[in-house]
Symmetry: C2
């Protein structure tokens, strides 16, 4: 049965990196420290960086990284995460995920701008652009997922919109043991999330605290 999943990165003080909107370093300078333990895993090295040497960590972080890529049948993301705003006037701009994005499934991009046709990419990813309510986009994505899960990929405002609307079954937050003191706030407007979900936590060898909300 389809579940709706979100994975987020947070610092101890509840921030995720603020994207700076440039394609050289789109996620901002704090993204590296925030995601370092994930980037070190065998799965991320292979799936995101194309390193098929088998190198990378294999502990608790790797278990979450592997799960991240398992059983996702459709993805939803905000326009900024696709990179729509970077070249907003170029109808041929295909986002900043490269020629073969690491999704391998339909990706629904939420946008307020004019509709544009779907963009099929190598590796099974097709970007679709939707302007409707998040509930409607989710319903379409759930059909497309065909029994697999729908992941709300981000950014943080998109994730919180789905959480606030009560649409998310599984939230995983990887909390890096660092204090950023700045960025986009992960947890705003989510008071009482522990009342509708069961919370469990474990600490990885890297020091990353993995917190999971599940209903």
């Amino acid at each position: 049965m389809t579940r709706v999943r979100i994975d987020l990165f947070s610092s101890l003080d509840g921030y995720t990196a603020a994207p700076d909107g440039t394609s050289d370093n789109p996620m901002g300078e704090d993204w590296g420290p925030l995601t370092a333990s994930y980037a070190a895993t065998r799965t991320f090295r292979e799936k995101v960086f194309g390193d098929d040497s088998g190198a990378g960590t294999t502990g608790i972080d790797e278990a979450y990284a592997a799960a991240f890529f398992t059983d996702v049948g459709a993805e939803i993301m905000g326009a900024a995460m696709f990179g729509l705003h970077v070249n907003a006037d170029d109808p041929n701009w295909k986002g900043w995920w490269g020629d073969e994005p690491p999704f391998g499934c339909p990706v629904y991009v939420l946008t307020h701008s004019a509709p544009r046709p779907p963009i099929p990419m190598a590796g099974g990813t097709t970007f679709h652009f939707r302007t409707g309510a998040i509930e409607d986009v989710l319903a379409e994505a759930a059909v497309a997922a065909d029994g697999l899960d729908v992941r709300v990929g981000g950014g943080i405002r998109t994730a919180r919109a789905f959480l606030r609307a009560g649409l998310v079954d599984d939230l995983h937050v990887g909390i890096a043991p660092i204090v950023l003191g700045r960025g986009n706030r992960v947890w705003d407007d989510l008071r009482g999330l522990e009342l509708t979900h069961t919370v469990t936590s474990e600490v990885a060898e890297s020091g990353t605290i993995h917190v999971t909300f599940r209903r």
Copy 2:
């Protein structure tokens, strides 16, 4: 050798309860959920609630609770934590910690109001009132601690002032697995604290995440 210690409670979203300034429920309604796992420990039941039946949890939370009361030779707290503002005009007001406060050592209360004489209490606690710089009060407390530790008890603004000034050797934060969405922010202005301290974390049976910064 004297170390300077702080213990704090936080929610997952980085809030501690906002005191509401009434003596009926001085710590505010979120304080209970935030500290529930600590209040359930054998040590807290005995030391704070006077329950000497031996009841209470005995796991990881209890280990931190027992450490909380060990080797503290002097305490520093803000005026609000003493309760100074509740009866600011009453020179005979002895704070809201009761006839036998759970400190058992000299307690230095930071205040901007007029000096007042020390207040000796039952159980070895004496409240001293100081208007000087936090470095000077810490120096005096360290002498009084006589080789034991100095604990900065709170509130949160006092704790952050000592942390920002680089005066704290050990910070322990007990993170309750709840999202408060409101309160006083624990982590503000502490960017990079992990660069001067070593961070370790463990998850208690209760779900509380114990994060320790140590230098």
